[in-house]
Amino acid sequence: MSKIVKFEGHNYFRQRLVLATLAGKILKIDKIRPNDANPDFEANFLRLLEKVTNGATIDISYTGTSIVYKPGVIIGGKVYHDCGTARAIGYFLEPLVALAPFAKSPMNITLNGITNDNVDLSVDTIRTVLLPQLKKFGLEEGIELEITSRGAPPNGGGRVTFRCPIVRSLKPIQFTDEGRIKRVRGVAYCTRVAPQFSNRMVDAARGVLDYVNDINIAAVHYQGDKSGLSPGFAVSLLAKTTTSVYYSAELAGGAGQAPEDIGLQAARMLLSEIRKGGCVDSIAQTLTLLYMVLGPNDVSKVRVGELTPFTIQYLRDLQDFFGSQFKITQEVDNDKTVLGAAPSSLIMTCVGIGYINTNKKTT
């Protein structure tokens, strides 16, 4: 495969930079918003990438419509970054989670910005859904996301700290048993609005999720310097099955919206996610598939409910950077041999490329 991978357009910007970094390939992207001014958040993400790596070069053309990225070494360590307010912290944190295990030293990164909105993954969902996913690939204890303060749009002001251990190589996964949902967890928070907002979201969500008794949605009201710079409220929900599959949903409220509506819609979104089935939540698909590709020269297998458009493009990008293809088989379980499983889902199989984190010394 060639050492240079080329793309056009501004979409899927972050994943291509992450994949180029991991694959050690030069990335060239042309025609980035040729007709518009470039928003600041993409440049901001490049600055973050420069902070966590060493030796990378980024050449941006005079017009700002094309870049050439030569990846360096992921160094990790203690980093502080201001994410701004154009995109939420999730936009920056999600790609960091993919890189962190392969750094030279454990990442300890503090990010400042918007913690919850309806565009990017919230820090709650990253903490409760994305990070537990890493453990399935053999990452030991020490993965942590501490939410120090909340920041709602438009002004943000939230702060989180992400810590992640490093590994030399990942383990393959065999994850095809969905199990059955045994409990529902969640967090409803509010800042700079009446404290009852959290409880009202919780009550509305509980009313929909009455399938199981084991429901615990925490209602938190942030005060003082923990409440960021803007009023806001949001809820994130999580359903856990007997085989440790997580399904999640989240929704943030804005001015003029009733907390009951937010709680109700978020709960229904969780039901929609549950109905899709599979062993991986929609938002964790890309990370899971990436780690399957990076795993040892062994077969990894996972069941997914349905591929999102984002994941479909990710599969193509994985092929362009690593040459890896997934075998996708549709499984129609007419006999319902797996208790409670969705009647049809996809089995994704691939052989890992045997990625080794050469930065980590063997002991």
Binding site: H10, R180, M269
Partner: protein
């Protein structure tokens, strides 16, 4: 219950591998929505790859030197797809679909996914 369940799961399409890895004629959104012509689309091919912002290697490289009015038309299309894809893995919320959960039968259709559901395995 069976009706609600099958209504949801009938949206599946075969040949996902070919659609994703093949000639990459369709954008991820088109594959997801099942917006796919089974007949080999040769005339509309260029248009489709532009509209869906399929930015994989080898898509829409040469057709830039067209006339001016073509360019402006294309920009409009692009703007729309920019709004659609915002580089986030969050799934777009379909509020109409969410309304269905108010229906008791729809809600019951996923009962067996919970430990409180029936323990009977149909067909065994």
């Amino acid at each position: 219950i069976a009706k609600a369940e099958s209504a949801f799961h009938s949206r599946r399409r075969p040949n996902l591998m070919r659609l994703i890895y093949g000639d990459r004629k369709y954008s991820p959104e088109q594959i997801y929505q099942g917006d796919i012509d089974d007949a080999p689309a040769s005339a509309g091919e260029d248009e489709e790859s532009d509209e869906g912002f399929g930015t994989g290697p080898g898509t829409g490289a040469e057709d830039d030197s067209d006339e001016e009015d073509f360019l402006t038309l294309k920009k409009e299309e692009t703007d729309q797809s920019v709004e659609k894809t915002i580089d986030s893995c969050k799934v777009t919320i379909e509020f109409l679909d969410l309304e269905n959960w108010a229906n008791h039968d729809v809600k019951e259709s996923i009962r067996d996914r919970f430990i409180t559901g029936s323990l009977d395995v149909p067909g065994s």
